[in-house]
């Protein structure tokens, strides 16, 4: 399986990354935005692992990074959900346009 050139996998991960960004910019629902963020994080993970495998197989740094990223992503998702719940309580909607307190 190592005859798949690295660029292909990177292509996949990049595509994932940008799809996630598109979702982040476009969606109005806060929870959907969260899902898009998860997608982005995952694409980064793939990147790490791939680089580790193809370019520096003697170290395990990429793998560790990946583990940590997964962990932290989970924590961050939890906090995000908590914030969303809070906003839902005050605005009664999870539309991100309604949370315009920072507007001029």
């Amino acid at each position: 399986m190592s005859d798949v050139p690295i660029s292909h996998i990177l292509f996949v991960s990049t595509a994932l990354f940008f799809i996630g960004m598109y979702g982040l910019f476009t969606r109005r629902n806060m929870i959907t935005m969260l899902m898009a963020i998860e997608l982005i994080l995952n694409s980064v993970n793939i990147n790490f692992v791939v680089f580790n495998k193809y370019l520096y197989p003697e170290n395990l740094d990429g793998i560790f990074f990946t583990i940590f990223i997964i962990t932290i992503a989970a924590a961050e998702a939890a906090v995000a959900i908590a914030i969303i719940i809070n906003l839902y309580r005050s605005h009664r909607s999870i539309d991100v346009e309604n949370a315009g307190e920072m507007k001029w």
């Binding site: 910019f25 949370a99 307190e101 920072m102």
Partner: protein, 675 residues
């Protein structure tokens, strides 16, 4: 004896009084401020008299000539090693004399004001302004540095502005004070330029050094300044003429005299102090101070002489027609100062070569001018204070409302008579001696000026006695009033002088504080004529003997007597001779009554020319272009901010989009454009 221990107190005490009364007078002192002001002035006067006594009689003379002493000198602002503005006190004959004059007259005015301004609400402010003025004037006369004199010059202008506009709720008073300040300020522009030229060319601002450098024939500065010429006139003439313009403005010489009659809007004691005895002689004093330099330059002396003579004559003519007693006195002041000016103009200068017996060569004109300043201070302030007493009773300035006050105000009447005799030049009153000396100097030097002076003294006698008779006599015998009357008896008529009854006579002559200065000044007027002035004051400090030539004096005295007689015929009793005379003189009378339309000319120039051509465009530019630019910038900023406002939308996703866009731009920059 050490002068420096007390000489600085003379001007500084009134300054302290100004500060104290100005800050606390309204709240704490009220009526006490008058007493405080008087006490302070009394101290200053005594100190000046003591200094004068010391200077003139004890140790001022060295080798037979009066020295110029500088007891105090303090470097204030130093431009370079040689050029600096010092604050110092100079003591030479004229400054000591002026110290005495200023403090004494100021003291009289302070005492008089105790009675005159009683009940005035801003009593404390009035006295603080008086003290400020006294301080400024004293500083002016003892200034040892030409810039110091300029500083005090402006201070005097400010104090007079404050005092003239004392009744600030009267628009005429406000306008008058503005006019005074602006006209004198305009003249001071010339003064400043003159100072700068003189200071620059002689590389010093100190009076002594300046005079020495510019009068020594061999000095390089004199050579430089006399040989440089601008528009065909040497720089020295320019400088001196400009300095004289400044003096002319302050002394109300033609054509900068327009402020003086209007300045009579101030309280009468103020007029006595400022416009009789002190401020208006500042110009004369300045010329006297710089007299050695003026003497070297013939052209500027001519300017001085002719301006003085023209002013004297013009003012006398105008005074004949005025009905407001204070304005008559104002024009009389202008006339007398004209005398002082042209006396300086025709003066010689002592120096080592002059014979001691040739009075004119010794500087008779200089001495006569200073002597006349001295005596004029006495009788003119006396005249003004008497006028104040009259106005206090009659509540009107106009001659038409007065007449026959002789029995009601005996002391005032006698004092007024003494002063009028003095100013007319009748022996043995003070004015006789000083006027004779002036006329003698003019006769020796420039006969044309002598004739002008002669005719003017006749006219002076005429209008002064017109004033005197109109106020104190001029009543048909059956209506001489000895008791107070009710206020509204007979309506005043508008024709000749002195036909109506006095308007309101429900006071007595005035309090003691108002009578006392009159008496003291009257006594002074009687006596000061006998001071041998030339023994004390002469241009170079060497005393000389000036003799009185009796034969010479016959002509002026005769002319003065004729003037008095004419006034007597016209005004002693109520008659219609004045109107017939006025009608006969027709146009000339009208022109004189309207002060020769000089005011109208000034108004025309300022309104039509300066306002329209300079003021209005400047205002337009300021409003539209300057303000428009500012407004335009503000408006643009506002529009831009409205446009940018949308960026802060509060939408997180927009932020993320911009964020991403920025990153992309950075990536491109770093990859492709960063070399």
């Amino acid at each position: 004896m050490n002068y420096s221990s007390y000489i600085a107190l003379i001007p500084l005490l009134p300054l302290a009084s100004f500060a104290v009364l100005g800050l606390f007078g309204k709240k704490y002192f009220k009526n006490l401020s008058g007493i405080i002001g008087c006490l302070v002035l009394l101290t200053s006067t005594l100190l000046s008299l003591y200094a004068a006594y010391h200077y003139f009689f004890v140790d001022g003379k060295i080798n037979g000539s009066y020295q110029t002493l500088i007891p105090l000198k303090y470097t204030w602002l130093s431009f370079s090693d040689s050029l600096s503005i010092d604050m110092g006190i100079i003591l030479d004959p004229i400054s000591v004399m002026m110290l005495v004059v200023v403090t004494f007259v100021s003291l009289m005015v302070h005492i008089f004001s105790l009675g005159y301004m009683k009940g005035e609400e801003r009593f404390g402010t009035y006295y603080s302004f008086l003290s400020l003025f006294t301080f400024s004037m004293l500083g002016l006369v003892v200034a040892s540095n030409i810039f110091q004199i300029y500083i005090f010059w402006e201070l005097v202008g400010v104090s007079s502005y404050l005092l003239i506009g004392f009744y600030y709720d009267r628009p005429s008073a406000v306008a008058a004070s503005k006019k005074a300040f602006i006209v004198t300020r305009f003249a001071d522009l010339g003064f400043l330029v003159g100072i700068l030229i003189l200071g620059f060319q002689s590389e010093t601002l100190d009076f002594n050094t300046l005079i020495q450098r510019l009068t020594d024939i061999h000095s390089p500065q004199l050579l430089a300044i006399a040989s440089t010429s601008f528009l065909g006139i040497s720089l020295l003439t320019w400088a001196l003429t400009l300095v004289f313009i400044g003096g002319a403005g302050k002394s109300a010489m033609f054509p900068l005299h327009i402020w003086l009659p209007d300045a009579m809007e101030g309280p009468t004691p103020v007029s006595a102090l400022i416009h009789a005895a002190t401020m208006v002689v500042a110009g004369v004093y300045l010329v006297a101070r710089l007299f050695p330099v003026f003497h070297i330059n013939e052209a500027s002396l001519h300017v001085v002489t002719w301006v003085g003579a023209v002013s004297a004559f013009l003012a006398a003519v105008i005074a004949c027609t005025q009905t407001d007693i204070k304005r008559v006195l104002a024009y009389s002041t202008m006339s007398q100062i004209g005398y002082m000016m042209f006396a300086l103009g025709v003066s010689g200068y002592g120096g080592e070569n002059a014979r001691l017996t040739d009075a004119v060569g010794q500087g008779l004109g200089y001495t006569a001018s200073m002597f006349h300043l001295f005596t004029h201070a006495f009788f003119k302030s006396l005249l003004f204070l008497c006028a104040g007493a009259v106005i206090h009773i009659v509540h009107s300035n106009d001659m038409k409302d007065m007449g026959g006050l002789r029995k009601l105000m005996p002391i005032t009447s006698i004092a007024f008579l003494i002063a009028c005799l003095a100013i007319a030049g009748i022996p043995p009153f003070a004015g006789f001696f000083s006027k004779e000396e002036i006329l003698m100097a003019a006769w020796q030097n420039h006969p044309a000026i002598y004739y002008i002076g002669l005719i003017t003294s006749g006219i002076t006698a005429f209008y002064m006695f017109r004033l005197y008779f109109s106020i104190f006599w001029n009543r048909t015998p059956d209506s001489q009033l000895t008791t107070p009357l009710a206020a509204d008896r007979v309506p005043p008529s508008a024709l000749a002088v002195g036909q109506g009854l006095p308007k309101a006579q429900h006071h007595s002559e005035g309090t003691l504080s108002m009578k006392l200065p009159l008496v003291i000044l009257a006594i002074g007027t009687l006596l000061v004529g006998f001071i041998p002035f030339s023994k004390f004051i002469s241009p170079d400090g060497k005393p000389f003997v000036s003799e009185m030539h009796l034969t010479f004096s016959i002509v002026p005295v005769a002319i003065a007597t004729i003037g008095i007689f004419i006034a007597y015929r016209l005004y002693f009793r109520r008659s219609d001779r004045p109107e017939k005379l006025a009608a006969a003189l027709g146009g000339l009378y009208n022109a004189a009554y309207r002060k020769f339309y000089i005011d109208e000319i000034y108004l025309f120039i300022t309104k039509k020319i300066i306002f329209n051509l300079v003021g209005k465009p400047a205002a337009w530019i300021d409003r539209n272009i300057v303000d428009g630019t500012m407004n335009g910038i503000a408006w643009t900023t506002g529009r831009i901010s409205v446009l940018i406002k949308g960026v802060q939308s509060g939408r997180v996703q927009s932020y993320a989009l911009y964020f991403f866009g920025g990153i992309v731009v950075l990536i491109i920059v770093f990859l492709y454009l960063w070399k």
